[in-house]
Symmetry: C2
Subunit: 433 residues, 2 copies
Amino acid sequence: MHINETHDPSLTSWVATANDPASDFPIQNLPFAVFRRAGSTETFRGGVAIGDQVLDLAALDPATVGEPASAALALAQRDTLNDFMAAGPAAWSALRLALSRLLRAGAAAQQHALVPQAAAEFSIPARIGDYTDFYTSIHHATSVGRLFRPDEPLLPNYKWVPIGYHGRASSIGVSGQRFPRPKGQTRPASGTDAPNFGPSRRLDYELEVGIFVGTGNADGDAIPVDAAEAHVFGLCLLNDWSARDLQAWEYQPLGPFLAKNFATTISPWIVTLEALAPYRAPWQRDAADPQPLPYLDYPALREAGAFDVELEVLLQTATMRREGQQAASVSRSNFRDSYWSVAQMVAHHTVNGCGLRPGDLLGSGTQSGPEPEAAGSLLELSGGGKAAITLPNGEQRTFLEDGDTVVLRGRAVRPGLPRIGFGEAAGTVLPAR
Amino acid sequence: MHINETHDPSLTSWVATANDPASDFPIQNLPFAVFRRAGSTETFRGGVAIGDQVLDLAALDPATVGEPASAALALAQRDTLNDFMAAGPAAWSALRLALSRLLRAGAAAQQHALVPQAAAEFSIPARIGDYTDFYTSIHHATSVGRLFRPDEPLLPNYKWVPIGYHGRASSIGVSGQRFPRPKGQTRPASGTDAPNFGPSRRLDYELEVGIFVGTGNADGDAIPVDAAEAHVFGLCLLNDWSARDLQAWEYQPLGPFLAKNFATTISPWIVTLEALAPYRAPWQRDAADPQPLPYLDYPALREAGAFDVELEVLLQTATMRREGQQAASVSRSNFRDSYWSVAQMVAHHTVNGCGLRPGDLLGSGTQSGPEPEAAGSLLELSGGGKAAITLPNGEQRTFLEDGDTVVLRGRAVRPGLPRIGFGEAAGTVLPAR
C-alpha cells in the first residue's frame, strides 16, 4: 500500500489531544467505530477517533468532504459499517483523505461534530456474518502443543496449512462485555467413567488480532494471495475467551465448541490497513522452514508481509478495582511474529471457493512471542496451570477468577512516526449463573 | 406437543393434489418456505406447501385468517421467516390452525393465492446468523471412527457429549445449489514432506437433518432440556458436502474447515415440530449406555425423544441426466436412530450461556443407520473409498464426480396417518475452477 499525505508524520490536528505523543489516535490513525452518546437512545452511527474525541460522521455535511468522499461518508454514517466496508479500498481511501484534511491544524474546527470518547458507547462495528478463528502463532501452537504432546508439539500440517476453524458470531461483544463463567462437562477423574459438570475452573483469555473483511468474493472464486489485502478493511483487538477444561474434554474429533462460543470481545476501533502501511515488517521464517505452496506465496510477503503491532494483556482483579489500582501488564507480544500473514489467511480461507462477505471477522489466533513471558494466554504463562503468575499486589493467578477484567491493547510504533493505537478490548468475568 | 385438530387424518383439502397419498404435502403437513415466481423480480415472501402448490402468504388478506393468526401471518409474509420464528410456538400454532381451516375441503377456495411449486423459486428460508453442525449418529461416528482408529472407533466423550462444531453460514444454499469442486491441500504422499494441492478427489455428501431455531435465549442463560423443543421452529433436510481428503490433512487440532465450508445445501421447506408431533419415537439406547447427565435428561426423552423420519439419498450422474434416468436411491436411514435428540442438542449448545438466535441452524450430523447399507455418506458406503458402489445403470462411485446431483428426501410415516414429507434438497457438483 502506497504511503500518501495522510501518513505525513508532521501533520497535527485542531483537536489538541490528538497531538499528544501518548495518544492512540493521532491524525495519522483515523480508525473507524460505530457509536452513540452513552445512555442515550440515539441511533448508532459511524465515528472516527481523533485524540480523546469521536468525530461523529453523521454530524458532517457531505458537502464538507466533497467528491469522491461524500458517497463513502454516506455509507459510513449508517448503524453498521458493512456497506462502507463493501465499497472497497478506493472509497475507504477517499474518506480517509478527506477526514485527514478536515481534521488538520488550520482547517475550520468542526466542534459540533465531536463527542468525547468518554461520553460514547460503542456497538459491534459491523454485522458479522461469519467469524473464523485462525492459529497463526507458531510460538503459541508449539507451547500449547508441548503441554499435550511433549514428543511432537507441532503437528505435521502446521507449516503448510494456515489452520483455522469456525467460531460463533452471535457471542461477539464489544469492549466492556461482561459474561458469566461458562458451565459444562469436563474430563472424568482418573478411574471413573462419568465426566464432571460445573463452572469452568480453567477460564482463560487469548490475545488476538481481529481482521475485518472489506470487500467479499463471489462463492466459488478464490482470492489470489497477492490481491488479498485489498479485501481487508482493517484490524482490531480480539479476546477469544477460552474454557480450557471444557475444551480438553469436548474437542476430539471436531474441534473447540462450548469452550469458546460463550463470549469473544473485540475493540470498538478498526484501524485500517492504509493507516498501518508505514508499520509493515518482514515475514518471520527460519531458514529450515518450507516455502509456502504457490497459492500462499507472493513477492511482497518476505519484505513486508507482517504488521509490526505491539500487543499487550493487562489484568485487573476485583480486589485491584476495589482498591483503585489500574490493570497490571501481564504479557506483551507482537503481531509481526505470526507465522502466517493476513493475506495468507484470506487466500487460504477462499482457496476452496468459500465466499467471504463484507463485515466477516477473522481472528489471528493467540499471538505469543518467542519468549515464554510473551505468551498470549494464561495456559501458557502458567505452564498448563502448574505455576501461578504473581500480580503487582501479590495476588496470584493460574486461570481467571470471577470479577477479573482482562484488557487488551495494541499499538504500531516506528521511530520517527507517531504511535498508532488500537484503543482497548476489555471484558469481565462474572460468577457462573 | 399436544395433538390437535390440524393432525386429524381425515382432513382433506380443496387443493386436490394435497389429497394424493403420495404427496409430501397433505393438509396435515403445512411446512413453511420463502419463495417467489421463478425468474421474476418479485419480492421473496413466506409460503406454505399444499399438494403441488405454494400457498402465497403475502396474497392472503389478514382478515381471512382472523385473530390471533393475523399477527403471525404478517410476520410470515416477510422475505425471511426470522421474525415469524421469533414470535414463538403460540404464534406458529395459531397460524397453522388458521391455514388448516382455510385449506380444508369445504372452505372457500383461494385460487388467487396459489402458485404451482414447479413455477416457484426458493431462497434460504431464514437469515442464518450462525450454523452449528452436530455429530449425533452413533452409527456414523463408529463407522467413520473405525476407518481412522480401528482399536477405538468411538472416542470416550461420545456417549456423554453431544459433539458439535461451528460451520459456515454464508455458504448455505437452498435446494438447486451448484458449486465448483473445492480445491485445497491434501496429505503428503508417503516419504515426502510437501502436501499435494488440487481439486478434491474424495468429495462426499452427508445426509443430515437441519434444525431451525425459533425463539432464542438471552446470552448467559441456558435453555433447560425440558423446555428446549419450544425453542425449535422445525426441521429440514441438510446436505453437509465434505471433501474427505482436505479434511484428513487440515482437521488436527481444531476440526474441519475448508473441507466443509464451500457449500451446504438445505431443503426450502421447514416442517414444524407441531406437524411432526404424531411421528415421535422412543429414544434409542442400549442397556449398557450411560444415563445422560442431568442437564441432558428429561422425562419425555425415553418415550418420545426422537423423530421417526425416514431419510433417503439419491444420486443422478451426468450420464443418467443425459439419458433421462431419474436419480437412483443410494441409501436410506431414519432420524429416530440418532443417539442425541433435538432437545439435547439445544440444551447442550446453551449450557455454557451461548445465545441462540431466531433463524440459527443446527445440523444433526450425518444420519447413518445400524446396517452398513444405511450409511449416510459415500465414505462409509465405500469403506473409506476402497469398495465402489454400483448404480442401476452400471456406473460406479467411491466418491462424487463432476456433474453428480445428490438429492436428499425425508418423510414421516405412521400407519393410519398421512405421510408428511420434506420435499427435497438437491445439489450439483460442477468442475473445479
